[in-house]
């Protein structure tokens, strides 16, 4: 429904560099990336507020260059909600319909329905700046939905909410997407949002598209080290392939050899991504697990946060593992404790050989 064809936009020092995206009807599409990656600029380009310097933006197959935002029927909700401070909640929601010259009766009816849906009827006559963050959020979304948009753009809508309001809101967004069949584009830097709501997503890093795919695909197999790091692979180990047989490779990561499931040429440099919670940590007593990869190591750091503990373990290279705080107590894990670390060959995501770095031949 929305397609970016090598879109470039320069804005001050920032450059959105030949980004191509494809958002299908009915998608809950996430745009993820670190701060300053250009995510908001993409939203503003979709809504027509920014015009690409080069490239095309297609809506339903048609180039939308030259169509102003007010003619596009795309709802936009910014992170700061941007409610109109001089209008009551009711008038904020009615604004879009008034601009579209709907009859007053219909506007009133529509506003009431939306206020009921978002449980803000009691706030109808309040001034926006007197509302809590969660309430402002609801008003902002209701206002965007009031124009019956073909597409709803959300710019980090959850980042300013407390955890409880946030969880409720995720459910509301889910039901808007599912029940009304609305296409939603949601910008975030929080991977929890994407995994709980998204169908497809794009990773934007430094103004470029790093990867675009189904959310579960990207989270299972990121295409580059930076994407892997961003979506939460705590361990990224560099290594050299020694041998490869029937999809099982042995990879040299310094002191140790790791078995992984991949097809790669011997001697090629690859990177191994392992999630911290896929790593099992056992007391060092000679017992091994059934996993292929077992290494001896020493705990060098322990960080406890709530019911989980993060362990940094030296196995020749430093790796990070997550265990429960309970097992830390039971097994008496502490800095300096010798442990046995294991993980399955299937738990390792292998990044393809990287483009060789240009080497200085004179040295």
């Amino acid at each position: 429904m929305i397609e970016f064809d090598r879109v470039s936009i320069a804005l001050g020092d920032f450059l959105l560099d030949e980004v191509s995206l494809s958002i299908q009807k009915g998608d809950y599409y996430f745009i993820m990336g670190p701060s300053g990656a250009g995510k908001t600029i993409i939203l503003e380009a979709i809504s027509g507020l920014l015009v690409p310097d080069s490239g095309r933006i297609l809506q339903d197959g048609k180039d939308v260059r030259g169509i102003p935002p007010e003619k596009r029927r795309i709802g936009l909700v910014y992170q700061d909600y941007s409610l109109f401070p001089h209008m009551t909640v009711e008038k904020n929601i009615a604004f879009g319909m008034k601009m579209r010259r709907l009859p007053a009766l219909e506007i009133g009816h529509q506003v009431n329905t939306l206020m009921k849906q978002f449980e803000i009827t009691h706030l109808a006559c309040r001034a926006p700046l007197t509302l809590s963050g969660g309430e402002q959020q609801r008003v902002a979304i209701a206002r965007a939905l009031a124009i019956d948009p073909e597409l709803l753009l959300l710019d980090e809508p959850l980042s300013a909410l407390d955890p409880i309001t946030r969880d409720r809101f995720i459910e509301e967004l889910r039901s808007i997407h599912r029940d009304q069949g609305l296409t939603i584009v949601h910008v975030t830097h929080d991977r929890r949002d994407a995994t709980s709501l998204g169908t497809r997503m794009a990773m934007i890093i430094d103004g470029r598209l790093a990867q675009e795919d189904r959310v579960d695909t990207i989270f299972a197999s990121p295409c580059s080290e930076r994407v892997a790091r961003f979506i939460g692979f705590e361990n990224i180990l560099k290594g050299t392939v020694i041998s490869c047989e029937d999809g099982l490779c042995m990879v040299d990561i310094g002191k140790n050899r790791v078995a992984v499931m991949a097809g790669a040429k011997p001697a090629s440099r690859i990177a191994l991504c392992i999630r911290a919670d896929d790593i099992t940590v056992l007391k060092h007593d000679g017992n091994k697990t059934s996993a292929r990869n077992n290494f001896d190591g020493t705990i060098i750091q322990k960080t406890i946060s709530g019911s989980l503990a993060l362990l940094s373990i030296d196995i020749g290279v430093e790796i990070t593992a997550v265990v429960t705080t309970k097992s830390v107590e039971e097994l008496a894990f502490d800095t300096g404790t010798p442990v046995c670390v294991s993980f399955k060959a299937t738990a390792v995501h292998v990044l393809p050989p990287q483009v060789p770095e240009t080497r200085n031949l004179t040295t």
């Binding site: 007010e70 596009r72 795309i74 936009l76 700061d80 941007s82 401070p85 601009m99 007197t130 124009i147």
Partner: protein, 282 residues
């Protein structure tokens, strides 16, 4: 008055009765010296005038004095209306664009701020005099600026311009661009977004700009007499009485003007106390 966090209730630190904030006390003493100047001046002239009330009343009821005050206020008002009509769009363009031209335009607008008023007056005069670049063709159409109401208005307009444009531009800049963007996506054209979102959100700045510009306009003397000694605005009248009849009469006229200004500003401020405030908690 609500207590703003961070604002001390006079000089005592919050929560302790005997711990004095010496920094604030010191600053108040130093700053107080400055406040003393207008206060003394005001008290001095007031006491002098109240000593002879019948004379003051006879001056205040003179037709020439009343006409002159009305003329000054009226010409200032016309200048402000012109500023609102032309200055508001200009301020919006300056607030929402970034280019090298902006700096040039902003310096041009600020020019009257740094020029001696006689220079400003001379510039206005040679532009609008009957042989002037603008004055000559308009004279053909029967519009005269020299020694005329319109001459007073253009001189006032020239010196008051930076006060209005700068204040309103600041107000427009404070309206988040995101708010305008949202209005656009909701179906408002740029003009509608300006009229329905930007203007109402910056109404306070527009009002302040008007007051500042009007205050500046009615206080102008040098620039006005260059082009229009007659009809006499209040500054001209006071100066004329000062040089012809002396201190007593001129200070009586001045005092009448002080009272009139006070009254007008007080009324305007109290009428618009709640104008454009949207964040008062209910």
């Amino acid at each position: 008055m609500k207590d703003t966090p961070g604002k001390r209730r006079w000089i005592k630190m919050r929560g302790s009765a005997d711990q004095l904030d010496w920094c604030l006390i010191g600053f108040s003493l130093i700053g107080g010296m400055l406040v003393l100047l207008p206060l003394l001046a005001l008290l001095n002239i007031t006491i002098g005038q109240l000593a002879d009330i019948p004379f003051l009343i006879s001056i205040a009821t003179q037709k020439q004095v009343i006409d002159s005050i009305l003329l000054t206020f009226g010409a200032g008002l016309v200048a402000v209306i012109i500023l609102v009509i032309f200055g508001t769009p200009l301020s919006y363009v300056l607030a929402r664009t970034q280019s090298r031209f902006n700096q040039v335009v902003e310096s041009l607008i600020d020019l009257p701020l740094v020029l001696p008023h006689t220079v400003a007056g001379l510039m206005v005069y040679i532009l609008f005099m009957q042989r002037g670049l603008i004055g000559a063709p308009l004279k053909e159409m029967g519009i005269v600026f020299e020694d005329a109401f319109l001459g007073i208005v253009v001189a006032m307009l020239f010196v008051a311009m930076p006060f209005y444009v700068n204040t309103v531009r600041e107000g427009f800049q404070k309206v988040p661009l995101h708010m305008e963007n949202v209005a656009r996506t909701l179906g408002a054209t740029r003009l509608q977004a300006f009229c329905f979102i930007v203007l109402p959100s910056s109404i306070r700045h527009i009002f302040n700009g008007c007051i500042l510009a009007w205050g500046r306009a009615i206080s102008e003397f040098a620039a006005v007499i260059m082009i229009a000694y007659y009809p006499m605005i209040i500054s001209t009248l006071i100066y004329y009485r000062f040089t012809t009849s002396g201190i007593k009469e001129s200070s009586a006229v001045a005092f009448v003007m002080i009272v009139a200004c006070f009254a007008v500003f007080l009324i305007l401020r109290s009428l618009t106390r709640y104008l454009g405030r949207y964040d008062d908690r209910v």
